[in-house]
């Protein structure tokens, strides 16, 4: 009997898993790439800040050297006009996304993959990042849930996407799911649409995902 399309698809997924296991360098390459990409992003953010600072300093110097009120007014007027154009440009640039309300996304993944993010908890992110370590997952000392939150599993594509009562998205990385599974912290037959209870520790890190026998109240 001929191999079906479904069997080919499964063979492809298996092959992806085998390559992941075979390639011990892939994990290192991935971490290296990640750090380089985030460093590039930081570089761009810094250069934009420098640009803004430079513009502001130039305008101050011009104002300082203006000998007459008329020149000062002219400089001020052109600055206002420039800022206005720039502002309109910015508004136009981001217009496509403006039509959508972006829900808060809670992202849970391993800290080993993002040293850069670990020091930036003070930032006002809409996407909140919760970092984990292997030791944290393995430790029994921290395995003490302080809160349970109901959620529904909406998608599974390696990572898990859950939606909580506040309609916020909770994304759990593929590696973290694998780790929780290994340590028996995923309980029940969880599929898309299943209501679950997320057990969190005091730091807001997920300790376990359990299928809820009875519906938890939001």
């Amino acid at each position: 009997m001929s191999i079906t399309d479904k069997e080919l698809q499964e063979a492809f997924r298996r092959s992806q898993q085998v390559q992941k296991q075979n390639d011990i360098m892939a994990e290192q390459v991935n971490s290296k790439l990640r750090a380089a990409v985030l460093a590039h992003n930081n570089g761009i953010a810094k250069s934009s800040a420098t640009e803004r600072a430079f513009t502001s300093a130039t305008s101050h110097i011009r104002a300082y050297f203006a000998s007459s009120t008329l020149r000062l007014t002219a400089v001020a007027f052109s600055l206002v006009a420039m800022l206005g154009v720039y502002h309109i440009g910015l508004r136009h640039e981001y217009n496509p996304g403006a039509a959508h309300q972006i829900d808060i996304v809670h992202y849970h993944g391993f800290v080993g993959e993002d040293k850069l993010l670990a020091n930036k908890t003070g930032y006002d992110y809409n996407a909140r990042f919760n970092a984990y370590t292997q030791q944290y997952i393995e430790s029994n000392l921290v395995a003490r849930a302080v809160s349970l939150e109901p959620a529904t599993l909406k998608a599974q594509d390696g990572y898990w996407l859950l939606v909580n009562c506040s309609n916020q998205q909770v994304v759990v990385s593929e590696n973290l799911i694998a780790s929780l599974n290994t340590h028996g912290r995923i309980e029940g037959d969880i599929d898309i649409g299943t209501r679950v209870a997320l057990a969190f520790d005091a730091q807001g890190r997920i300790l376990a995902i359990k299928q809820s026998a009875k519906a938890l109240m939001c």
Binding site: V29, R34, V37, L38, H40, N41, I44, Y125, A127
Partner: protein, 200 residues
């Protein structure tokens, strides 16, 4: 609120719920340029992207193209519009970057027609050698990957994208090809794969 405005907000509300997690993260990243959204997008898509690129090239080139792709995502973040599929957008950038790279250093032939000239027995021999090499290196054998790598470039590209979950229409957009052409490439690729896997 007018009826028109209510309808508009209702439609917008519906669109909001239809947005996927990656699309939300990308819109958020486009707006703020923050590390958290970018890191989350990287974690969700980097493995698949790397595997796709490695299927079409080698490890070194895949790594290089992967990095260039993400840098383009950073630089073109304002070009991503709501309603677009993030993964399709990412893979389109990656594919174009890979082709540019292939043309630049001509290490890998974009049109690997030569492979098509191999007879079935020669193809099977190649697969066996590749699997034996993996085993000799102490790696788990992966005959499927060895067979995939023997497919002509464009067939391999279309089939890999389909296995990643893209629709024929999305693949046609990513590869800048007609839908019918994509369907044909996928059909040929699957037939060739089946023949090789069944004879192994």
């Amino acid at each position: 609120m007018s009826i028109g405005a209510s309808l508009q907000s209702l439609i917008q509300g519906k669109r909001t719920t239809a947005l996927g997690v990656s699309e939300r993260l990308m819109l958020q990243y486009g707006k703020k340029g923050d590390d958290a959204s970018l890191a989350a997008l990287f974690d969700l898509h980097s493995n698949k992207l790397f595997y796709f690129l490695r299927m079409l090239s080698d490890s070194t080139m895949a790594e290089d193209v992967c990095q260039r792709t993400w840098i383009k995502v950073i630089e073109r973040r304002h070009l991503f519009k709501s309603g677009e599929n993030f993964q399709a957008w990412l893979f389109t950038i990656a594919r174009r970057t890979l082709i540019d790279e292939c043309r630049k250093n001509s290490k890998i032939e974009y049109n690997s027609e030569a492979v098509e000239a191999l007879s079935l027995s020669e193809q099977l021999k190649h697969v066996q050698i590749s699997v034996e090499n993996d085993v000799a290196k102490g790696l788990e054998k992966d005959a499927f990957k060895a067979c995939m790598q023997l497919l002509p470039y464009k067939q391999k590209e279309a089939l890999s994208l389909q296995f990643e979950g893209f629709t024929v229409e999305q693949i046609a957009n990513i590869c800048s090809a007609e839908k019918e052409t994509v369907k044909t490439r996928i059909r040929y690729a699957k037939d060739a794969l089946r023949t090789m896997l069944e004879k192994l």
